[in-house]
Amino acid sequence: MQTLNNLFLIIAHFIRSLFADPQSVWANLTMDVINFIIVVVIIVLAALILILLERKVAGWTSMRTGPNRLGPRGWFQTIADALKLMGKEDVTPAGADKIIFKIAPMIIFSLPMMTLAVIPYGNHMAPIDLDLGIFYFLAVSAISTLAFLMAGWGSNNKYSLLGGMRAVAQMISYEIPLLFSLLGVIMITQSFNLGDIVKAQHTIPFIVLQPLAFVIYIIAGIAEVNRAPFDLVEADQEVVAGPFTEYTGLRWGLFFLGEYGNMTAVSALAATVFLGGWQGPFLPGWVWFWMKVGVIIFFMMWVRWTFPRIRVDHLMHLAWKVLLPLSILNIFLTGLGIFIYRLVMGG
């Protein structure tokens, strides 16, 4: 049991022990490269599985079968789709701002790599154990706004531009309640380190102490990754595909990877901060972690295939007049709770 729980740590230890000095620069560098590869593999695997899962969930909600031709029960469908994407011609529109147009998908793809690197996948299993973990996570994920705007502007397409503008308006608005909803947890743990936050949930996950913050986080998180009902950025009935309209082949595929990577990252943070991360009985920690992430991702898919798209002005209304006051109220209540707790416990 203990072996299985620490499986990855044992592997890491073994790789380090191959070096003469396990703490040398070369050993550290090797471990960093391996960690990097692991994060990339996580994103690609997540995208492969999630795209298929999304289509299956869509099928279940609307009483269809979903993909069921390729492989057992259609499980190889995404691989075939990825191969098809690679075969597509790489088109750059005539009037496009070529550099911006080409950089945008790379930025989108690189962001989940950076954010997923600080998530603790198990006890002592964060690829990079940052003391400012949450802060770093939010700062990096805010960059994706820029990438959407770059794609929208660089494509030289009016639909793309409209989509890019929507992305800026929406993502900046929802960043604030997202950030504020996490503040309550930080106030309790008094730490920005994700590992410490998970350890603080040893007895009770923060979803019990911070239910309001969890709801705000999930809503703002869905808006942050541009999924329905907040998918105004890529609303195909209005702006065709928003910033992605002009992209083809692998570049478009990178957007897709980035999108599912972002979704995984937001869900992983929710699992870490509110659901107790890798903590859980019987099963190995990393299994618990991915199960919790899976539950949140399934919830997001369920919401996407049930709700229609929200109206633009209602979107802003929700962010500034509902979620923001609620998240500030949550901070206030948390402070009050901590004050009373200390008063009672005599801390």
Partner: protein
């Protein structure tokens, strides 16, 4: 040119655009996301059906009418054959009249289901779309049993019906009617009852009663603006005067009422079909009409209540086997006038929703 100048964005939506139901095109002038002006452009699906009629015999033209409003093709057949029958003074058998009513109301249900589905889809309710199309499939199956085809049914002839429905048609129809309340409840649960959907549709795209009347809007779009006008009640044709049914009216004048009124109409259609099944007599389904149809010299206009509005046929006969002139008055073509007036000042996504509530079928608009 100074940097801080704002510019009007002219956006060309369509004819190839995900929400432009067929081949509609509109040029949208945008101030940010707000629409300041809409120029609708039609004609991308123009096939010259009216002109084609002049080189076809009266019977040969029936399949062409299927291609007008292809979501409710029995209605187009019906409007056309009744016009010719009116010109010739043909009395058709009772059973054929009842079958026509059954098929017409089935087509109304199917068309409204597509409308609910496509409106849901235009505000991104994917699942609601799937539910409505799944249920419509059962009506298409019933068409197929009787006439052999599913979309362009072509089930009516001058003087009656093309075929008697087979034995398995009736139980299928009964079970469909029994399931409709459950279906409507499901549509309400997944779509109309949803907070976000109501936010998208309620108080959006207000068309006041006076405006609707002045633009000669017809069909559910008019009735959602508080005008109780239905050709079936106002100028009863076929045997509609024998049935007991209501004309649903709503007074909200907004996108929501224009959509949900179709739910009310489905309920009324079910009522009519149930009465038709109860009363349908035995007998022939074709009147004795000459093999070669040669109406007397003259002209005639006849209108029916298509699911989307008032559908009229105007036929001029010169006494030969081919009509001298056919003119079609499609409901949605006239209803489409309201789009540039009503949608002005709304956001681009509301314009998409308003357009969806018109339930435009471009086959009918462009002819």
């Amino acid at each position: 040119m100074s940097i801080d100048k704002t510019e009007e964005l002219v956006l060309n939506m369509g004819p190839q655009h995900p929400s432009m139901h067929g081949l509609f095109r509109m040029i949208v002038h945008l101030e940010g996301e707000t629409v300041t002006e809409i120029e609708p452009k039609i004609g991308y699906l123009h096939r010259g059906i009216e002109k084609l009629a002049e080189s076809r015999t009266y019977t040969q033209f029936i399949p062409y009418t299927d291609r007008l409003d292809y979501l409710a093709s029995p209605h187009n057949n019906w409007a056309y054959v009744q016009t010719v029958e009116k010109l010739m003074g043909v009395e058709i058998p009772e059973r054929a009249e009842y079958l026509r009513v059954i098929f017409g109301e089935l087509a109304r249900i199917a068309s409204h289901q597509v409308m609910i589905a496509s409106t849901a889809l235009d505000i991104a309710g994917w699942t609601a779309w799937g539910y409505a199309f799944r249920d419509r499939e059962r009506i298409l199956d019933m068409y197929e049993m009787t006439a052999g085809s599913r979309l362009t049914v072509n089930c009516m002839r001058i003087g009656g019906m093309s075929a008697e429905p087979p034995a398995e048609f009736w139980p299928a129809l009964e079970s469909f009617l029994d399931d409709t309340p459950e279906m409507l409840e499901e549509y309400y649960g997944i779509f109309f009852g949803n907070e976000i959907a109501q936010g998208r549709l309620k108080n959006v795209g207000i068309m006041p009663k006076e405006l609707a009347e002045n633009l000669s809007i017809t069909g559910p779009v008019l009735r959602a603006s508080g005008v109780q006008y239905d050709v079936r009640k106002a100028y009863p044709y076929s045997i509609y005067d024998r049935f007991d049914f209501d004309v649903p009216v709503r007074y909200g004048c907004d996108s929501y009422d224009r959509t949900i009124i179709r739910m009310d109409e489905i309920k009324e259609s079910v009522k009519i079909i149930r009465q038709a099944i109860r009363d349908i007599p035995e007998g022939p389904i074709m009147a004795k009409v000459p093999k070669v149809i040669k109406p007397p010299v003259g002209e005639v206009y006849h209108r029916v209540e298509n699911p989307k509005g008032e559908l009229g046929f105007y036929i001029v006969s010169d006494g030969s086997t081919k009509p001298a002139r056919v003119r079609i008055r499609p409901g949605t073509f006239v209803n489409l006038q309201m789009l540039p007036i009503v949608a002005k000042g709304w956001k681009i996504q509301d314009v998409v929703a308003i357009f969806a509530t018109l339930d435009a079928v471009l086959g009918e608009v462009d002819k």
